[in-house]
């Protein structure tokens, strides 16, 4: 099935948005911190913004301005939510991976060989 291509980093950002939007906290800084915490990568703010920009262009997320807060100098957040298309894309990626994993008889061996 054809779908628009999603890079590995974009996929992680998209997943993070999906997780954080449940708490209404899917915006730049929060996403950055979450990814750093979960993956241990050193991620910078501008990279997240660029990725979100690309995702929005592809129509995987949409966004709207939130309420201003004091810690942001009275500025508003841009809050992202995953679109239906984005969700479907995530699911498809997941399905493709699961189907490959299920065909491996002994995943642990692979790790050893791969290591």
């Amino acid at each position: 099935m054809k779908r628009s291509y999603l890079g590995e980093f974009e996929e992680i950002v998209l997943l993070t948005v999906a997780v954080l939007e449940l708490q209404g906290q899917a915006y730049g800084v929060a996403i950055t911190h979450e990814i750093i915490e979960q993956t241990g990568r050193s991620v910078r703010l501008n990279q997240i913004h660029a990725a979100l920009d690309r995702l929005e262009e592809k129509g995987m997320v949409k966004s709207e301005m939130g309420e201003p807060t004091a810690e942001r100098g009275g500025r508003r957040k841009r809050l992202f939510t995953v679109t239906a298309y984005g969700r479907r894309t995530l699911q498809e990626i997941q399905e493709v991976r699961v189907s490959f994993w299920s065909r491996l008889l002994n995943p642990l061996n692979l790790t050893i060989i791969g290591g």
């Binding site: 800084v29 910078r44 703010l45 501008n46 660029a50 690309r54 810690e71 500025r75 957040k77």
Partner: protein, 879 residues
């Protein structure tokens, strides 16, 4: 202030970040900053903040958000989404621009014509200057090729001779190991007759001599023949393409025979492509130097006895010029014809044309002057465009107002006006390109420049054109764009009049500058013209009008007496004279000597003439020789001119005094007369009067001077003279020149300068008038209603014309005041190069001012009278 992030970083971010991202990005950055402060402290947080800000300098952040999801449409309520290169708006700009051009044909053509002319002329000048500055850079060893110059002292004067005896060059090559290659080159001595067959026998100039090494060193390009052997043996000649076609048509002439100077057959061994025009090495044909002694007595004499060869050396890359110059002094020992006191210098090949000792000292300066003129013309043209466009701003102010009111950004308006100026300049650029291509050969010819079409095919030319085009577009578009886009929509839409003032001051300055330039140039032209007229009409001490100088070859000695008698019979006894000198050229024999009385070094011109010369040329006697009236003279007489008498310090009756060290005392003294240009004063001169039977006068060829009757039909007379000449069984074809022409040719450079300045003056005046016409048209348009009211209240037509013209005339008068002293100073400098010059009278300035005022008035009146005659009912009714 503890928790504010770095302000400067914020400002930077605001500068480049797209508007619609500002809030979220700044917010995120600040939140992050706070968090970092709590984690790692303020100092490191500030560092991180900077790093993050710099991280945002990415295309995505500078660009506006591109979202094609229609659900998000409402987000755009906060900001505009148009981007400047928006295709729809672009199309609108184009159509508006074309409509503007089309609707105002007068303005458009004034604009475009002005720019076209300005661009074409300044590019032409720039090309010429570029050509002059790039002499001799193309030769394969140009950076280590040098010419030897010998410099000797004659009293106060150091005289440099680039021409050296042939043995000097060969000794240098033999004795100095650093000399890699030697090229000796001469471009010939006067005319040479070449003949390929009966029908192809012509007199040629610039048939030179050179070593075979000239071919690789000067990078000569062959069309036919073998470059390696073309000059390697005696008896060979190579021709330029032009000369080869003249004698042999389009066929390959290699191996064919060409008779040199009537008796000496040479073999054509090669044909060269057209020589580059930017080289000091110029010739039409080249004979191998080794064959020169075998080409008759005259050539052998020169070869053996004269210094005539430009000697070029290619030095090894590691050689030091200064050391070689020292070694050259030691080489001279033991050679003939070398001045033992001389010093030697090496001049690099690429510097010869402008900075060589033989080059006129002011060539660089005049190039800079030309470049300045080019810049002035270009500036005037651009100024013209700017002032016309801003003047029309009123017409466009409503458009600007509307555009702004419906949401046009200032940057968009700036873009629009730049686009318009870009279109106009592109149009002008295209036209000037065509103009230049079409007029290039003509201009070269008229101005006597040594350039050809090949220059137009070169990269620098195109680079220059494109550079000029871009610069013009930017300069011409810049001011109008900034001015027009700055209009306040509320004011212009209300019809407030403050826009009338916009840029008026600047326009006034522009007009003044334009007229200053044109009046200045006008004064220069007038001074040039008066000086040239003065030179032409000044009494030279001899009467040169209607005198034909008939060239007599030295081989014609046996026939000479008969020929002279025949000419005397035809023209009348008193109208024929003989001399050995080509009068009014720079080839006058000069002796260096010392006065015994004053111990002064003198350069004395030596001329041989016959007895009728003095009466025929109308030369005044100071002291007639004894027995002059008796008629034919029996021995050679020596005549001094007045300057020689003065310079050598002879007092009292010169005829009874001892001579200067030349050894011959004076038999008579004549009043000074000029045989050269009036750049210099009369030089000391010694004339030898020889009897009719003397042969010495023809030793190197001579001239029969014939004064034609003032009312003769000149072509007819020349035909008759040719017949007489042909009956004498001449050895060379009939050849003559007019003294008048030769004298005028001495001022070829000044003549050219005058023609250039006339052209420039006409151009700047044209451009200035175009500008003035545009401004006047505009000013009348703006004041239509005012004029109507004035007329209704009883103003006269004259009154209104004066009212409208007054402002502009003031500017012209101011321009006159500025231009006069500058032009006076410049022309005073120029006049210093003449020993005989005019005084710059007040009337020159008055005339220039008068002409400028008249032209300005004429231009202005065109519009002002039209406006003054208009029916006020019409102008007042239209609302």
């Amino acid at each position: 202030m503890l928790n504010t992030p770095p302000q400067l970083a914020d400002r930077l971010l605001r500068f480049f970040l797209s508007d619609d991202r500002r809030e979220e990005v700044l917010g995120d950055l600040q939140e992050e900053y706070r968090w970092q402060v709590s984690q790692v402290g303020e100092r490191r947080a500030r560092w991180r903040y900077w790093r993050d800000v710099l991280g945002f300098i990415k295309p995505f952040a500078i660009r506006r958000r591109q979202v094609n999801d229609t659900q998000n449409y409402r987000r755009f309520a906060n900001h505009s989404v148009t981007t400047f290169p928006n295709p729809i708006m672009l199309r609108n700009y184009f159509s508006i621009a074309f409509r503007q051009l089309w609707k105002n044909p007068l303005f458009s053509s004034l604009n475009i014509v002005g720019l076209t002319v300005g661009l074409a002329v300044s590019t032409f000048i720039a090309l010429y200057v570029w050509h002059e500055f790039h002499y001799d850079r193309f030769e394969p060893f140009a950076n280590r090729t040098y010419r030897i110059v010998s410099a000797s002292k004659y009293g106060e004067n150091e005289v440099s001779f680039p021409q050296l005896h042939h043995s000097f060059g060969s000794e240098v090559k033999r004795q100095i190991p650093e000399v890699e290659e030697l090229v000796r080159f001469s471009n010939g001595f006067g005319d040479v007759i070449l003949q390929s067959d009966q029908n192809h026998r012509f007199k040629e100039t610039n048939i030179g001599y050179a070593d075979a090494s000239i071919i690789p060193v000067m990078g000569l390009k062959f069309l036919y023949g073998d470059a390696k052997t073309a000059l390697s043996e005696p008896g060979r000649i190579i021709l330029t393409r032009q000369l080869a076609e003249k004698y042999f048509g389009n066929q390959n002439p290699v191996g064919k025979s060409l008779v040199f100077d009537k008796h000496f057959p040479l073999t054509v061994s090669g044909v060269l492509d057209d020589l580059p025009t930017n080289s000091v090495i110029q010739f039409n044909g080249l004979v191998s130097l080794a064959s020169m002694p075998k080409l008759g007595d005259r050539q052998r004499g020169i070869y053996e006895n004269a210094g005539f060869l430009n000697t070029y050396l290619v030095l090894r890359p590691d050689a030091r010029v200064h050391d070689i110059e020292k070694k050259l002094v030691t080489v001279k020992a033991g050679l003939k014809f070398i001045d033992m006191s001389a010093n030697y210098f090496l001049e690099a090949l690429p510097t010869l044309h402008l900075d060589g000792r033989g080059a006129p000292g002011d060539s660089r300066q005049s190039l800079y002057i030309l470049l300045t003129v080019a810049l002035v013309i270009l500036t005037l043209a651009v100024i013209n465009y700017i002032s016309l466009t801003t003047a029309r701003a009123t017409k466009r102010s409503r458009e600007v107002g509307i555009r702004k009111a419906v949401g046009g950004q200032r940057s968009e308006l700036i873009g629009q006006f730049f686009l318009e100026s870009f279109l106009t300049t592109t149009l002008a650029f295209g036209l000037s390109l065509a103009l230049l291509q079409a007029l290039f050969p003509w201009a070269n010819h008229t101005l006597d420049l040594q350039m050809d079409n090949r220059v137009l095919a070169q990269g620098p030319y195109w680079g220059l054109m494109i550079g000029l085009w871009l610069i013009c577009s930017l300069l011409a578009g810049g001011y109008p764009a900034l001015l027009l886009s700055g209009f306040r929509p509320a004011l212009v839409l209300k019809g407030s009049t403050n826009w009338r003032q916009s840029g008026a001051g600047v326009r006034r300055v522009f007009t003044t500058v334009q007229f200053t330039a044109s009046i200045g140039l006008l004064i220069c032209s007038l001074v040039l013209y008066t000086q040239m007229r003065f030179l032409r009409t000044k009494n030279l001490g001899l009467n040169r009008s209607q005198v034909v100088a008939l060239q007599i070859d030295n081989e014609m000695l046996p026939q000479f007496t008969g020929l002279r008698n025949a000419v005397r019979q035809w023209a009348g006894e008193g109208n024929v004279a003989t001399t050995n000198t080509r009068l009014f050229t720079n080839n006058i024999m000069t002796m260096f000597t010392k006065s015994e009385k004053t111990k002064k070094e003198l350069m004395v011109n030596a001329i041989e003439v016959d007895r009728p010369f003095f009466d025929m040329m109308g030369i005044q006697w100071k002291n007639r020789p004894l027995g002059w009236e008796k008629g034919a003279i029996t021995r050679d007489l020596t005549i001094y001119n007045q300057t020689l008498v003065n310079e050598s310090g002879i007092k009292g009756n010169p005829l009874q005094q001892q001579a200067v060290s030349i050894g011959r005392s004076a038999d008579g003294v004549v009043a000074d007369f000029h045989v050269n240009s009036l750049h210099g004063a009369v030089s000391p001169m010694m004339l030898t009067v020889v009897s009719d039977t003397s042969r010495s006068i023809l030793a190197n060829g001579g001239y029969l001077l014939v004064r034609l009757n003032p009312h003769t039909d000149v072509p007819n007379a020349l035909d008759q003279l040719k017949q007489i000449y042909d009956q004498a069984h001449p050895t060379v074809p009939f050849d003559y020149y007019f003294l008048d022409d030769a004298y005028n040719k001495l001022y070829a450079k000044e003549e050219r300068l005058m023609r250039l300045f006339n052209g420039f003056t006409a151009l700047t005046l044209l451009v200035a008038c175009l500008g003035l016409l545009g401004l006047m048209t505009f000013s009348v348009e703006v004041r239509t209603k005012e004029i109507g009211v004035r007329k209704v209240l009883g103003a006269s037509v004259t009154g209104i014309v004066v009212l409208l013209s007054k402002d502009f005339l003031k500017l012209v008068l101011l321009a006159m005041l500025i231009a006069s002293p500058i032009a006076w100073w410049a022309m005073n400098q120029w006049l210093q190069s003449f020993a005989y010059k005019i005084d710059m009278a007040w009337w020159i300035f008055a005339l220039a001012g008068g002409v400028a005022v008249a032209i300005a008035l004429l231009t202005v009146s065109f519009q002002s009278i039209k406006a003054a005659l208009m029916n006020p009912v019409k102008s007042l009714r239209s609302e």
